[in-house]
């Protein structure tokens, strides 16, 4: 197994794909975090002004946590693409033939790939997290998130990148074609998923249907965290004892602001997304354990 893991690392490091996808991931995370932090700082200023004029002084919100989570969310498209190509491009280029001929069994090849792409998902996650962090530091003029909040958001972002990598790998393995896998994944995660989630949630805000879908649950993993932190912050400032329905309403709004409309809380979202990842990943591996390589 160690040999095959080494081989998988060499496969990645001897081609350009890993940095060709990492650079735009960093650029997007950094740029998006920067711009979004600027925007949310302005929004935060407005809210603070309103709160201050309402008699509450010294209110400071760290809305840039929303920028952090959204930036990582967008940048996770790149590890997803990276994962999608893991097996699909080997099938497409027929290098899978030699990979299977030089390994004790297909299961060991696929297992080694899973381990190596888990590690690469982590690498992408950490790099994206650092870039997004830098982005909000550069773009925020007001209060930055607290260190502990920040770390939790980064953790969920890294986890999201990791799971997207494996989900992409599973879809690529199932479809067996890089073009098909990328089309399906990018169209879904970049366009259809987000729009559908907004529409579904706008029609029925109390329905968590969007949060059950793969992209919605992934957004929930990162977005709900930021929304929750924000909620705690506002409650700390405003005080009082909100009713459960008020609490829910705020959560819906904050999650929508964090790019996760209709999502569950962080833990539930994370578990749902993990389940989706497992479904595609295991399905893809099973498919390739039996596939005729012609």
């Amino acid at each position: 197994m160690g040999n095959l893991i080494r081989a998988e690392f060499r496969k990645i490091l001897t081609t350009k794909m890993w940095w060709a996808l990492l650079i735009p991931a960093v650029g997007l995370a950094l740029g998006w975090a920067w711009l979004a932090a600027k925007f949310f700082t302005d929004v935060g200023d407005a809210i603070e002004d309103a709160l201050n004029s309402g008699g509450i002084s010294n209110a400071e919100l760290s809305l840039s946590s929303l920028a952090l989570t959204r930036a990582m969310n967008f940048a996770s498209l790149f590890p997803m693409v990276f994962g999608a190509l893991a097996l699909a491009s080997e099938l497409n280029r027929k290098t899978i033939t030699t990979s299977f001929l030089t390994a004790p069994s297909r299961a060991t090849v696929l297992g080694a790939k899973a381990i190596v792409y888990t590690m690469w998902g982590l690498v992408y996650g950490v790099v994206v997290a650092l870039a997004a962090s830098l982005g909000i530091v550069l773009g925020t003029t007001g209060k930055l998130p607290d260190a502990s909040d920040w770390l939790i958001i980064l953790f969920t972002g890294i986890l999201s990148c990791l799971l997207w990598t494996l989900l992409g790998m599973g879809v690529g393995a199932l479809l067996g074609s890089p073009v098909a896998a990328l089309l399906v994944l990018l169209l879904y995660a970049g366009l259809i998923g987000p729009i559908a989630e907004v529409l579904i949630t706008a029609q029925n805000p109390d329905l968590h249907l969007a949060g059950v879908m793969p992209n919605g649950s992934a957004n929930g993993l990162t977005g709900s965290t930021a929304a929750q932190l924000l909620y705690d912050q506002i409650q700390g400032i405003v005080g009082g004892n909100p009713t459960p329905s008020e609490r829910d309403q705020f959560a819906v709004i904050a999650r929508a602001g964090a790019g996760a409309p209709g999502a569950f809380s962080m833990w539930i979202s994370g578990l749902i997304f993990l389940a989706w990842t497992a479904v595609f990943f295991v399905g893809g591996l099973l498919r390739n354990n039996n596939r005729d390589i012609t």
């Binding site: 080494r6 081989a7 060499r10 496969k11 001897t14 033939t97 001929l101 030089t102 004790p104 005729d292």
Partner: protein, 406 residues
């Protein structure tokens, strides 16, 4: 685990792709120390069979083993069997050396081995070039280099000569012969008998997914009855005279000669002399293997042949077809006597580099020069020209059978 014999056994192998029966009940053995040719027209199931042998395609029924075990139970299979498969893939952006180092890592051999095999196949100078820029011939060499990384005991090659220049083909022949002579096993597929005829000892001929012949090439050759072509002054009288001499298998040829089967030149000459018939020419004619190959494999995807170079159809009785015993018996022929003159299987470990093969084409002699052409000192014997009055088994005919496949 595997028994180290180097023997390939294919038993009742069958594969259906949906409605299409790609391979039907195929059985044959490949013995160590020999080069076995696996012949059949395009689409006859060669590639599918080899891929089943290598665990890449799951058989519908039947089985195939190497060293007594199916491929996926070989442990570290690349140390036992090397496969050169048709259209084998390379990442276009990965250099040849990096490509090989991926697989040295996978099979746990030293990275130096990558450079050794690059030298071996004559690609040393191209090691740092991306495989995407390689010609088809260079890709074939790189595929062979990959197969050799694990210093395997068995080589399985699917149409390895595709894209190779004549020098490359000559080199490959010498290489494979030397490889087999060191006691190892070679199974090589081709759709052209002429391409491998000088390399192989055993032959498996398949058509439409079924075995048509399995045995030694020499037996196949000797199974061919020769015929005497005679040009008499009076064909009719000679035919009568021959019949009186109990030589009955006589048929006229289109150009006014007689074709006599089952008699020697001397017998025919004697009969003619006794009957007082002048002979203007007598010669003996043997069918060449290519024609026989045609006859064994004809019928699949028969294309239209506008240029009237149809391969011979419907063999004359006694002319060409292997004896019936041959065809019915080949399934029960697992243990034909070992080949003469090959060293026993137990060559010293790694010894084929040192052991001087009896012929000049030993592949350890490759210089580390450019990929252009490692000289082997091996020269292809000139091709025997086909008999004059038989249709040439050349591009026209084979093009016909190829063309129908598309």
């Amino acid at each position: 685990m595997q028994d180290g014999s180097g023997r390939i056994v294919v038993q009742n192998l069958t594969k259906h792709f949906g409605q299409v029966a790609a391979v039907q009940n195929l059985s044959f053995n490949v013995e160590p120390g020999t080069v076995t040719g696996f012949l059949g027209p395009n689409g006859s199931g060669k590639t599918t069979t080899l891929r089943m042998l290598l665990g890449l395609v799951r058989p519908t029924s039947g089985w195939a083993t190497i060293n007594g075990e199916p491929f996926n139970r070989l442990g570290n299979p690349a140390r036992i069997v090397g496969g050169v498969l048709e259209a084998q893939g390379f990442h276009p952006g990965r250099t040849a050396r990096d490509h090989l180092r991926v697989y040295t890592a996978a099979m746990g051999v030293h990275d130096q081995r990558a450079d050794e095999v690059l030298n071996l196949v004559g690609l040393a100078a191209a090691g740092n070039r991306a495989a995407g820029g390689f010609s088809l011939g260079m890709k074939q060499r790189l595929a062979l280099a990959t197969a050799l990384l694990g210093d395997p005991q068995v080589l399985v090659l699917d149409e390895p000569a595709n894209g190779l220049d004549p020098e490359g083909i000559a080199w490959l022949r010498a290489f494979l012969k030397a490889f087999a002579q060191s006691g190892r096993t070679v199974l090589i597929s081709s759709h052209l008998l002429a391409e491998v005829e000088q390399t192989i000892d055993q032959v498996v001929i398949i058509s439409r997914g079924q075995t048509m012949y399995y045995g030694s090439l020499d037996e196949l050759r000797s199974s061919q009855q020769s015929r005497v072509i005679v040009q008499p002054a009076d064909p009719q009288r000679l035919a009568v005279a021959l019949r009186e001499a109990k030589i009955t298998n006589v048929s006229p040829t289109p150009d006014g000669k007689l074709a006599v089967v089952g008699a020697t030149i001397q017998q025919v000459g004697d009969v003619a002399a006794q009957a007082g018939i002048a002979l203007y020419g007598v010669h003996e004619e043997r069918a060449d293997l290519e024609q026989l190959f045609f006859r064994l494999t004809a019928g699949q995807y028969t294309g239209q042949m506008p240029y009237a170079q149809a391969p011979p159809q419907g063999p004359a009785p006694g002319w060409g077809a292997p004896p019936p015993g041959q065809q019915s018996g080949y399934h029960q022929q697992p243990g034909y006597p070992p080949q003469q003159g090959y060293p026993p299987q137990g060559y010293p470990p790694g010894g084929y580099q040192q052991a001087p093969p009896p012929q000049q084409g030993g592949y350890q002699q490759q210089p580390s020069g450019g990929w252009q052409q490692p000289p082997t000192g091996w020269e292809a014997p000139p091709q025997a020209p086909p008999p004059p009055d038989t249709p040439p088994p050349g591009p026209g005919a084979s093009g016909g059978s190829d063309g129908g496949n598309n």
